[in-house]
C-alpha cells in the first residue's frame, strides 16, 4: 500500500541537508560558522553600526564518532537585534526571515542560520540558546528546540533580563557535531576573506584550543545601505505578476505598470502598453490568465524599459575595497575598480574588481583569486566559477605578470539575485552580461598593475645599469693602469656621472 504524507520545510531540509552545505562533519562546522557570521553581518549592516562579531568554538570533551566531535558554537554580534516576538521563529523555523525583499543582502532565504541549528540538534539533540535585544531596556533569552516535523520552535525556557548597558545585538549558542581540525583552514580563510570585504568589522574567533584570532577593522565607514526596490519588468515571471494583480489598488494598466515596476513612468507605460497591444484602461484585476502570460512575455520582449538602477545594491566602493585589501594583504601595489551598474534578465548587478601585488599576497604558482558575492567570500568550487575562467583565459604575460609573482585578484559581484549555479551558493554561473563585466573589470585593474610593473621593471633595470657601470668601469681603469705601468689611475668620475645624468633626464621625461 502506498502512503502519502506531507513533510514540512524543516523536514525537507533535514532530509536534504547536503544541498544546504552540510555534507560532512568538516563542511558542517564550516557552514555553521559561516551562516551565523553572515546573519550577524547583515544585522549590523541594518543597524548601521560597524560590526563587532565574536565567534567561539569550544570542545565539550564529548565524542560521538571517530571523525566527528561535539563542539559548542557561540556567535555574538552588535547588530540590530531581533524583536522579541520574532526570535523563536527566526531561529526555530526554516524559511522564516527578513530578507525576501528586493535588495542586496548576504542571505536570501532565511535558511542558513536555522539550518545550522537544525543540524546541531539532529547531531547532538541539544537545545539552542538565543539572547537578543534591539537596544531596549530588555534582553530576551530563549532556550528552545525545533519541532522538525511541524517546522516550528518549541520553547523550553524564556527569560527577560534588564538591559542595564543598553546592549544591542544577538547571541546564538548551540551544540553540533563536526570535524574542526579538517575545517580549520577553511574557517580561517573564510574569516580572513570576510575581513577583506568587510573592513569595518571587528571579527574575533576563539578556536577549540583557546587560540585567539583577531581581524580588526581599519575603518568605521560602512557602504551605503541598499534601498528596497520594485521588480524590473525584465526580471518578473507569471507568478509575480499574478500576485501583484491580487494586491494592487490600481484601476488601470497605466497605473499598474507605474506603481509596481521598477523605473516606469507615464511615457514608458504608454509606449509599452501600445507595444504589447494591451488596453491602457483595462482593470488589472480583470486580466485573464492567458493575458497575464502575454503581458509577461511582452515585458521580456520590450526593449524600451530603462535599465534598473543600482540603489538596491550596496557595493563596497573603491575606498572600502582598498581598505580591506590593504589591511589583510598589505600589498605593494593595489588597484580597484567599480564597474557601472548593469543588468542580466532584469536583475541589476555591480561588479567590483581589485588586484593586489606583493606584501602578504600568498605566493603560489598561480594568481590567487578571491571571489565574493554580496560580500560573502566564496571558497568552494573555484574552478567552476565564471571569474576563475576569466582569470584563466587572460594572457597574463601581456600584463607583465609572471606565474611566480604574488598576485591576487578580487572579484565582488553585488546583485539582488546572484546567479549562483547551485543551491550551495559557492560559484557563479557564466551569464554573458556578468562575464563581460567581470572580464572588463579584471582587465581594468590588470592594466594598472601592468603600468606599475613596467615602471618597477624600468627602475630596476636602471638601477642595475648604473650598478653595472659603477662596478666595472673602476676595474677597467685599475687594470689598464697596472697594465700600462702608469702610476695614477685615470679619473673616471666624469664618465660615471655622464651615464647617470643621461638617465635622470630620461627618467624625468618618462614621469612627466
Amino acid at each position: 500500500m502506498v502512503t502519502f504524507e506531507q513533510i514540512s520545510p524543516a523536514d525537507f531540509f533535514y532530509r536534504n541537508r547536503d544541498i544546504a552545505g552540510f555534507t560532512n562533519p568538516a563542511r558542517a562546522i564550516f557552514s555553521s560558522v559561516r551562516e551565523l557570521v553572515e546573519n550577524s553581518l547583515d544585522a549590523s549592516d541594518q543597524s548601521r553600526v560597524p560590526s563587532n562579531i565574536y565567534v567561539r568554538l569550544s570542545h565539550d570533551g564529548e565524542e560521538s564518532s571517530e571523525e566527528a566531535e561535539v563542539y559548542r558554537l557561540r556567535v555574538e554580534d552588535n547588530g540590530s537585534g531581533i524583536p522579541a516576538r520574532h526570535i523563536p521563529s527566526a531561529f526555530g523555523q526554516v524559511l522564516f526571515g527578513s530578507k525576501y525583499k528586493l535588495k542586496q543582502a548576504r542571505g536570501t532565504f532565511g535558511l542558513g542560520g536555522t539550518m545550522a541549528i537544525l543540524y546541531g540538534q539532529i547531531t547532538t539533540h541539544k537545545p539552542v540558546r538565543i539572547a537578543s535585544s534591539t537596544g531596549t531596556s530588555r534582553i530576551y533569552r530563549y532556550k528552545m528546540i525545533i519541532d522538525i516535523q511541524r517546522n516550528r520552535p518549541i520553547i523550553l525556557d524564556r527569560k527577560i533580563q534588564v538591559n542595564k548597558d543598553r546592549w544591542r545585538g544577538t547571541m546564538v549558542e548551540f551544540h553540533l557535531e563536526g570535524d574542526f581540525s579538517r575545517a580549520m583552514p577553511k574557517i580561517l580563510e573564510y574569516l580572513k576573506q570576510t575581513a577583506v570585504v568587510t573592513p569595518y568589522a571587528n571579527l574575533t574567533f576563539v578556536d577549540p584550543k583557546g587560540r585567539l584570532y583577531k581581524f580588526n577593522r581599519s575603518t568605521s565607514k560602512m557602504p551605503r545601505s541598499p534601498k528596497e526596490t520594485l521588480p524590473h519588468p525584465h526580471g518578473v515571471d507569471v507568478e509575480t505578476v499574478r500576485r501583484l494583480i491580487q494586491i494592487t489598488k490600481c484601476r488601470n494598466m497605466i497605473d499598474f505598470m507605474k506603481t509596481h515596476f521598477h523605473r516606469i513612468g507615464e511615457r514608458i507605460s504608454h509606449k509599452f502598453l501600445k507595444f504589447a497591444k494591451i488596453d491602457e484602461k483595462k482593470n488589472p484585476r480583470k486580466l485573464e490568465p492567458d493575458e497575464i502570460v502575454k503581458l509577461v512575455r511582452m515585458m521580456k520582449k520590450f526593449d524600451g524599459f530603462r535599465a534598473p538602477d543600482a540603489s538596491c545594491l550596496s557595493p563596497l566602493g573603491d575606498d572600502l575595497l582598498k581598505a580591506g585589501i590593504l589591511k589583510e594583504l598589505m600589498p605593494e601595489f593595489i588597484a580597484v575598480c567599480q564597474r557601472k551598474p548593469s543588468t542580466y534578465s532584469g536583475h541589476p548587478f555591480v561588479v567590483e574588481t581589485a588586484i593586489a601585488y606583493g606584501g602578504k599576497v600568498p605566493k603560489k604558482d598561480d594568481i590567487v583569486l578571491y571571489r565574493f558575492a554580496n560580500r560573502i567570500p566564496l571558497l568552494y568550487d573555484e574552478a567552476s566559477d565564471v571569474s576563475w575562467r576569466i582569470v584563466k583565459s587572460i594572457n597574463w604575460r601581456k600584463y607583465k605578470v609572471k606565474p611566480d609573482m604574488p598576485v591576487a585578484i578580487l572579484v565582488h559581484l553585488c546583485s539582488t539575485k546572484v546567479p549562483y549555479k547551485t543551491v550551495g551558493k559557492e560559484f557563479i554561473a557564466d551569464r554573458p552580461e556578468v562575464k563581460n563585466e567581470v572580464l572588463n573589470g579584471v582587465r581594468q585593474v590588470a592594466r594598472q598593475l601592468q603600468r606599475f610593473l613596467s615602471k618597477q621593471e624600468y627602475r630596476e633595470k636602471e638601477r642595475r645599469r648604473l650598478a653595472t657601470f659603477s662596478r666595472y668601469l673602476p676595474k677597467i681603469a685599475k687594470f689598464s693602469t697596472e697594465l700600462s705601468g702608469k702610476e695614477k689611475e685615470p679619473d673616471i668620475r666624469k664618465l660615471l656621472w655622464s651615464v647617470r645624468k643621461f638617465e635622470e633626464e630620461k627618467n624625468q621625461k618618462l614621469s612627466s
Partner: protein, 363 residues
C-alpha cells in the same frame, strides 16, 4: 747537425707579447684620460668573416671588425673581463708563471671579475688572442697536456729555476711532454733531418722501440688525437727554425685525415692566429689507397664518417690533388683502417716496410 735559424726565438717572442699587452693597456688608459669611454676594435670572428687564404695556406679573418665600448651596457662586463685577462696574462708572462684555462676561470674570482662559466672565460681569452694577435700559450695559458716529443733534440729552458739548463729529448724513452717548459724553451740543436708526427700513443711507443728515430734520423711527435695548439706551434717552430720536413701519420679515416690537415692548414677557430700551421707538412698515411694497396684489415665507414667525408670534400683546405683523391677513394671503398692494422703483418712491418715506402713516396 742542424742549428736553429734565429738567435733566441722564445725570448724574442716573450718580449713582443709583453710589449703588445702593455700597449693595449696604454691605449685604454689614454682613452680614459681624454674623458672617453675606453673602446677597442678587433676583427670579427663570426663565420661570415672567416676566409681560407691560399696565400697563407690557412684560415684567416676578413676585413670585418667589431667595436667594443665600455659605454655600451652589454659590452662593459666582457670588456672588463678582457682588460683583466690582459692584465693577468701580463702578470703570468712577466713572472714566468703558467696557468690553465681552468685556472684563469678561477683566478678571475679573486679579482671580482667573475666569469659565468668556463666557456665564457674561454671566449674572453680568444678575444684577447684576437686583439693581441698572440695565442693563449704565448700568454702562458695552457690546456691540459697530452702530446709528447722524442728524439735527438737539445733544448734550453727559459722557465724559472731551469734557465740556461739544456736537455736532450732522447733522455726519456716515453717521450717528453710538450708542456709550457718545452714550448717556451729555445731549440738549440738536433741531428734529425725530419719530423714524424703520429696520432696514437701505441704507435708512438712502437716507433721508439723500433728505433725509428735512429733508422730514419727523425724526431717523433705524438699528437694524441687532434694536436693541441701548443703542439701545432711546436711543430711549426721545428719546421721553421730547424728546417725539418714534417710527415704526419694518422688513422685511415676522415678524422685521422683531418688531424693531419689541422697541423698543416690550421682550423677555422684559430683563424685569428698565425704560427700554428705548417703548410709544407705532408700527410703520409694511412691513406685510403693504402688500405687497398696493403690489404689492411678494415672496418666499414659509418654514416657519420661518410657525412664528414662529404663535408671535407667541399672544404677549401682539401683543394689539393692528394686530398681530393683520398676523399674519393674513401667514399669508393667505404672502409677505414687504424694505424694498428699493420700489426697483422707483424709488429715491425710498419717500420720496416710501410714507413720507408711512404717517406720515399713523399720525397
Amino acid at each position: 747537425m742542424k742549428k736553429k735559424k734565429t738567435k733566441s726565438s722564445a725570448a724574442e717572442r716573450k718580449k713582443e707579447v709583453l710589449a703588445n699587452l702593455i700597449d693595449f693597456g696604454s691605449t685604454l688608459y689614454g682613452q680614459m684620460e681624454k674623458g672617453d669611454f675606453p673602446w677597442i676594435k678587433m676583427p670579427s670572428r663570426s663565420i661570415d668573416n672567416i676566409f681560407y687564404s691560399p696565400e697563407f695556406r690557412q684560415y684567416i679573418l676578413g676585413k670585418k671588425a667589431v667595436r667594443r665600448s665600455a659605454r655600451n651596457i652589454r659590452h662593459i662586463r666582457p670588456f672588463t673581463q678582457l682588460v683583466w685577462t690582459a692584465y693577468f696574462a701580463h702578470e703570468l708572462v712577466r713572472h714566468r708563471k703558467t696557468s690553465t684555462l681552468r685556472d684563469v676561470y678561477y683566478s678571475a674570482q679573486a679579482y671580482d671579475v667573475p666569469f659565468k662559466d668556463q666557456p665564457e672565460s674561454n671566449s674572453i681569452i680568444t678575444d684577447l688572442e684576437t686583439v693581441a694577435k698572440y695565442s693563449r700559450e704565448d700568454f702562458h695559458v695552457f690546456p691540459e697536456e697530452r702530446s709528447a716529443v722524442f728524439g735527438d733534440l737539445t733544448i734550453e729552458y727559459t722557465v724559472p729555476g731551469y734557465e740556461g739548463k739544456r736537455y736532450n729529448l732522447m733522455s726519456h724513452p716515453d717521450g717528453v711532454m710538450i708542456g709550457p717548459a718545452l714550448t717556451s724553451a729555445e731549440l738549440v740543436k738536433t741531428t734529425a733531418d725530419k719530423l714524424i708526427a703520429i696520432e696514437k700513443g701505441g704507435l708512438f711507443t712502437r716507433f721508439i722501440e723500433e728505433q725509428v728515430h735512429k733508422k730514419f734520423n727523425s724526431l717523433l711527435v705524438l699528437t694524441a688525437g687532434q694536436a693541441p695548439r701548443a703542439t701545432r706551434h711546436f711543430i711549426h717552430r721545428l719546421n721553421r727554425e730547424l728546417n725539418l720536413p714534417v710527415y704526419i701519420f694518422t688513422d685511415g679515416d676522415p678524422w685521422g685525415m683531418h688531424i693531419a690537415m689541422v697541423i698543416i692548414s690550421g682550423s677555422a677557430n684559430a683563424a685569428h692566429l698565425r704560427d700554428l700551421t705548417t703548410p709544407d707538412a705532408t700527410w703520409s698515411g694511412v691513406w685510403a689507397t693504402d688500405i687497398v694497396d696493403y690489404k689492411l684489415p678494415s672496418e666499414a665507414l659509418t654514416d657519420v664518417d661518410i657525412k664528414r667525408l662529404y663535408e671535407l670534400q667541399k672544404d677549401p683546405r682539401y683543394d689539393g690533388e692528394l686530398w681530393q683523391r683520398e676523399v674519393k677513394q674513401f667514399l669508393k671503398i667505404r672502409r677505414k683502417a687504424e694505424q694498428e692494422a699493420f700489426s697483422r703483418y707483424g709488429l715491425s712491418y710498419i717500420v720496416d716496410k710501410y714507413l720507408p715506402a711512404k717517406l720515399e713516396e713523399a720525397a
